[in-house]
């Protein structure tokens, strides 16, 4: 199997301290190897996309990075600049109290996160997610897009230096996706390290500076989207991605 995709040094910015890193991560579910020997670094202000076919290990990798699951092997690296901070995490499934209002959900988690000024954090998140006018609406009455915005807002309340998003746009329509990506790009521009997984590989090309391709639990590619285009031999990112995987499968 060619290792061409992994020739680039781990992390997009050699020499700079990673905000988050993985060293030889592995995960076993019983006898099934869900993740094997995954290593990479992600830096402040960088957007890293994790893509791959179904069952590639994307959610497993993100949940280990978020601290939801423990790895069976390997270690995590947490940048010194982010020491003491929690990694912000936006799970694939909406994790919200549907009987509480938007503001009550945010206020509760601001308090649980021990944010210094919960009311200020609440106001900031309402403004950033554009949900200020829906603050007193119960989550159960919101549209799928607005619920996802609250889901994202809960992960960002403590202004974390590292944000992990597991397929954040999977339930959204194109307009809602654009709005959400605008918001996420803004986080990276303000210096956050953003690692996200997505099924829509076009989003990886459009928004990420680096792409990690997982297949069968192994990291097959770590580099810029343009490099994946070259590896796949196509100008269309999705075709290049499919061709890249096909080349990997055939000796």
């Amino acid at each position: 199997m060619s290792q061409a995709g992994l020739d680039a040094p781990a992390g997009g910015r050699p020499g700079s301290e990673p905000a988050l890193g993985a060293r030889g991560l592995g995960k076993l579910y019983g006898k099934r190897q869900a993740l094997s020997e995954v290593s990479f670094d992600a830096h402040a202000g960088e957007m890293v996309a994790v893509i791959g076919p179904n069952g590639a290990g994307k959610t497993t990798l993100l949940s280990i990075l978020a601290g939801v699951q423990r790895p069976s092997a390997g270690t995590l690296v947490h940048g010194e600049g982010a020491a003491g901070s929690r990694v912000g995490w936006v799970p694939q499934n909406l994790a919200l109290y549907s009987k509480l209002t938007v503001a009550e959900n945010l206020r509760l988690f601001a308090r649980l996160e021990r944010v210094e000024d919960p009311e200020r954090a609440l106001a900031r998140m309402l403004e950033q997610t554009g949900l200020a006018d829906r603050a007193d609406d119960r989550v159960a009455r919101l549209s799928g897009g607005n619920r996802q915005r609250v889901n994202v807002a809960l992960g960002l309340l403590a202004d974390p230096p590292v944000v992990l998003l597991d397929e954040p746009t999977s339930a959204l329509d194109p307009t809602q996706r654009e709005r959400l990506w605008g918001f996420i790009v803004g986080l990276a521009e303000r210096g956050a390290c953003v690692v996200f997984s997505t099924h829509v590989v076009g989003e990886a090309e459009r928004y990420a500076q680096r792409v990690l391709v997982l297949d069968g639990g192994r990291l097959q590619f770590d580099g810029a989207p343009a490099k994946l285009l070259a590896e796949g031999g196509s100008e269309d990112f999705e075709r290049a991605f499919v061709a890249f995987l096909a080349k990997r499968e055939s000796p």
Partner: protein
């Protein structure tokens, strides 16, 4: 933990139907069970066909007794529906209007009065096996009571006649005839024999006097024998194992403990299951790299849900006890013990609830599991010893021991009624059960993460 508790109380306040069901259902169920325990069984509805001529009397010796005296004894134990013919009675049984019919034949009086042939009444049954068993039991009991009353009457007539035979007295119309008693006979015969010259007549009189003396002595104990035969076993009750609990206050304890169980178990199980269903467990418990711990610890989360169930259950159960005390006499000086028993019982039930919630995947499954587990446990704990086979009772006892209901019932019974076993032992038992289910909940939650 306080923020989570506040959140849960807010969600609960917004779920009015759930709260109403959580309070109304267990209270209604508990009251029904309480009434079923404390109320005496109702009389079965039975059709009676009395074919005897009106005003017929039974002649026992010199005594005449109206048949009504005995049929009333029978009818006291059933709800009587009088019908004129056997066919109508059978129709009523078949249609389910009555559970059974009793036909009293016209020759019953002559047979009883004859003293040599047994009188017979006919009983007609219908319904399923359980109904038949209950009605048979009620009617057999009623017939036994009537038979007992009749045999008492026969005994007293026989004892009176025996006494007349032994001691003598007046018999016949208006006491026209004087009867010599068997007890006076030996002395009278001996006096006559003493006046006779020696010979065969004197010897014969002396032998007859000896026989009369023997007969008087043996017939003297016949009255006691008749009493024993008419009622071979007299019951004298002695209660062991501590203080006796009045049935109505025991019913209160059962009702309150069942309400407490349902509220605590359902709320605690639902609380944990809701966190899981809304995908909140991972958000709350994940140990973020760099910060070390989760937003809340597993122990805090379980303690919060257990507290939610226990506090709500305690409030409702305590209010029930106070409310019931307006109708049933409860010793209010023991109120401190009520609080102690209710608190330990509430946490025992809540621990069972969090274990169910941690093992179930969603609220509906948790609620169903809570019902399926709680209700049979309550009924098992109420099975009295001796009502089932020894081995089965031991198995029931072992199952009841590892769940909190029986211990909670005993703790409350001890606190409210001062019953045995004492409050200390029951509280210790509840504490152990609480730890067991809390550990099980911790294991379930670790699996769920």
């Amino acid at each position: 933990m306080r923020w989570l508790l506040g959140k849960d109380l807010r969600i609960l306040a917004r779920s009015r139907l759930l709260v109403a069901l959580l309070v109304v259902y267990p209270v209604a169920l508990a009251l029904l069970i309480g009434f079923a325990i404390s109320a005496s069984p109702s009389k079965p509805k039975v059709a009676i066909v009395d074919e005897t001529p009106p005003g017929e009397t039974i002649t026992l010796g010199n005594t005449r007794v109206g048949l009504d005296e005995y049929t009333n004894e029978l009818f006291d134990h059933v709800q009587v529906v009088r019908v004129p013919t056997r066919a109508q009675a059978a129709a009523k049984v078949a249609s389910g209007d009555v559970l059974a019919a009793i036909v009293i034949p016209p020759d019953i009086v002559s047979k009883i009065s004859s003293g040599v042939s047994q009188a017979q009444a006919e009983v007609i049954y219908n319904g399923d096996a359980l109904k038949q068993s209950l009605v048979r039991s009620a009617i057999d009991s009623a017939l036994a009571q009537a038979n007992l009353a009749l045999s008492q009457q026969i005994k007293s007539v026989a004892v009176h006649d025996l006494d007349l035979l032994l001691s003598g007295g007046k018999i016949g119309p208006l006491g026209s005839q004087e009867l010599i008693g068997l007890r006076q006979l030996p002395q009278t015969l001996k006096a006559i024999a003493a006046r006779q010259p020696s010979g065969q007549d004197k010897a014969t009189l002396t032998r007859i006097a000896g026989f009369a003396s023997l007969a008087a002595n043996n017939l003297g104990i016949a009255a006691d024998v008749l009493t024993t035969v008419s009622q071979p076993i007299a019951v004298h009750s002695t209660l062991l194992h501590g203080k006796r609990t009045p049935l109505d206050t025991y019913a209160v304890v059962v009702a309150v403990s069942i309400s407490l169980m349902f509220i605590c178990v359902l709320l605690a199980a639902g609380g944990i299951a809701l966190e899981r269903e809304e995908h909140m467990l991972t958000r709350l418990l994940r140990r973020s790299p760099g910060s070390g711990g989760g937003l809340v610890s597993r122990v805090s989360l379980l303690a919060e849900k257990a507290s939610l169930g226990a506090v709500c259950g305690f409030v409702v159960a305590f209010a029930m006890l106070l409310g019931v005390s307006a109708f049933v006499t409860l010793d209010l000086s023991r109120i401190g013990l009520w609080v102690l028993a209710l608190a330990f019982a509430a946490f025992g039930f809540a621990a069972l609830g969090i274990a169910i919630g941690a093992l179930a995947r969603e609220v509906r499954a948790a609620s169903l599991l809570a019902f399926l587990l709680s209700l049979p446990l309550a009924f098992l704990a109420l099975v009295p010893s001796g009502s089932v086979a020894v081995g089965l009772y031991d198995a029931i006892g072992a199952i009841s021991f590892v769940f909190p209901y029986k211990a909670a019932l005993q703790a409350l019974d001890a606190a409210v009624n001062g019953a045995s076993p004492g409050l200390g032992a029951s509280i210790l038992h509840l504490f152990g059960v609480t730890l067991l289910f809390a550990a099980l909940a911790g294991f379930g939650l670790r699996r769920a993460e």
